[in-house]
Symmetry: C2
Subunit: 230 residues, 2 copies
């Protein structure tokens, strides 16, 4: 029987690649997405297409109201998503698109589902190289979460089977992630990365996430198959 893994699936480029990697390692994937009040709801449609296309064993979408807490441009339409930031700005500080404790919350739900499924593997497509500077994308955070997870759960305590948080992308550049995904047959036309798509769901091409993605395809000598607003 295939080993089960819970995978956080946003609908973006990174998590789609992580899904392909988990499957290439022989895991049966239980995909988990969140309607958390994000302004880019289009990514949930993308997540559904990706989960279906790549044969996730199950896909669940949880609704949680992170917008109720506020404090992020991704969940608050009154705050602007920064556009056309320079590389040196991208590398500096934590931007307004950071959603407080988002990955902590997402991983906590993944942990709960893993415990019920008796799965001991959780995949998250975080990346600490070409990324937006979020604290909860760094290896030291993931390690600390894993330590905590092994103390938090009944199967950690009773069965003494370790829970592993897999971060197959953490040390890759965006270009390397895309290259890896293409080698596994990922159709990036299904994915969406933009923080601020237009009403038709087309990517803006100017937010941090679009900039990192476009650069990644450029470095592979390719055109991004995603749809961009003119």
């Amino acid at each position: 029987m295939a080993k089960k893994a819970v995978l956080l699936l946003s609908g973006g480029l990174d998590s789609a690649t992580a899904l392909a990697i988990a499957q290439s390692q022989g895991f049966e994937v239980y995909a988990l997405s969140f309607a958390y009040g994000q302004r880019h709801k289009r990514e949930l449609m993308a997540a559904q297409h990706i989960a279906a296309e790549y044969g996730a064993k199950e896909h669940r979408v949880f609704t949680i109201d992170l917008a109720g807490f506020g404090g992020s441009a991704l969940t608050d339409n009154a705050l602007n998503v920064p556009k056309d930031r320079l590389d040196e700005d991208l590398a500096r500080g934590i931007p307004i698109t950071y959603v407080p404790a988002r990955n902590t919350i997402f991983l906590s739900f993944a942990l709960a589902w893993a415990e019920v499924l008796q799965a001991y593997d959780i995949f998250i497509g975080v990346n600490a190289l070409d990324y937006s500077g979020y604290p909860d994308c760094r290896a030291e955070f993931i390690k600390a979460f894993e330590t905590m997870a092994n103390l938090a759960t009944a199967h950690g305590v009773e069965n003494k089977q370790r829970i592993t948080i897999h971060t197959p992308l953490i040390d890759l550049t965006k270009a390397e992630i895309i290259k890896k995904g293409l080698s596994l047959g990922v159709d990036y036309g299904l994915t969406t990365s933009c923080y601020d798509p237009d009403p038709q769901g087309r990517a803006c091409g100017h937010c941090d996430s679009c900039q990192l993605r476009l650069k990644g395809f450029r470095e592979n000598g390719m055109v991004d198959p995603a749809e961009y607003a003119a």
Copy 2:
């Protein structure tokens, strides 16, 4: 200005006592409760009364569907809440009333709210002495969560202000918790602890939680002011 603290408020005896303790330490309390699919929904009404009675600065109730994951007698009516277990059984193993990763999820939401409020203190009324054997009530879990929390958040990383998870009850017996609460004026008649109340909301008197509570009042030479089914 008073320091802000986020406090997890279930409506039970322990979290009501933790609220009184946080306030006695000068914190302005932001109380957080969850409608998570628990069969004992009465505790949410109790939480609202307690938050209002004790002057919490704000009280939020988040809805999250932990019942969707299954695996616990507290969220699944098809599973029976164990009754009249002996002391030696209470001390052994993790019971079916354990909800997978519940405190991890609750603390993650508390962390998100704390970050937005710019609060650096989180209170949780866990107790590892007279308790149900849940892994996520133990000091080692709380310590690991605190370590993780300080790596997870922007204010942990940028402001270098440490986040503290306060567990003022963790080393107390149920009798000592009640004694402490009474000294701070807690009205335990407002609290409810039963895992399996009757349709009128009266406590069963026989589940693990009722047994621990009744013993605690008995050891204080008192009658529990909560309402029990005959």
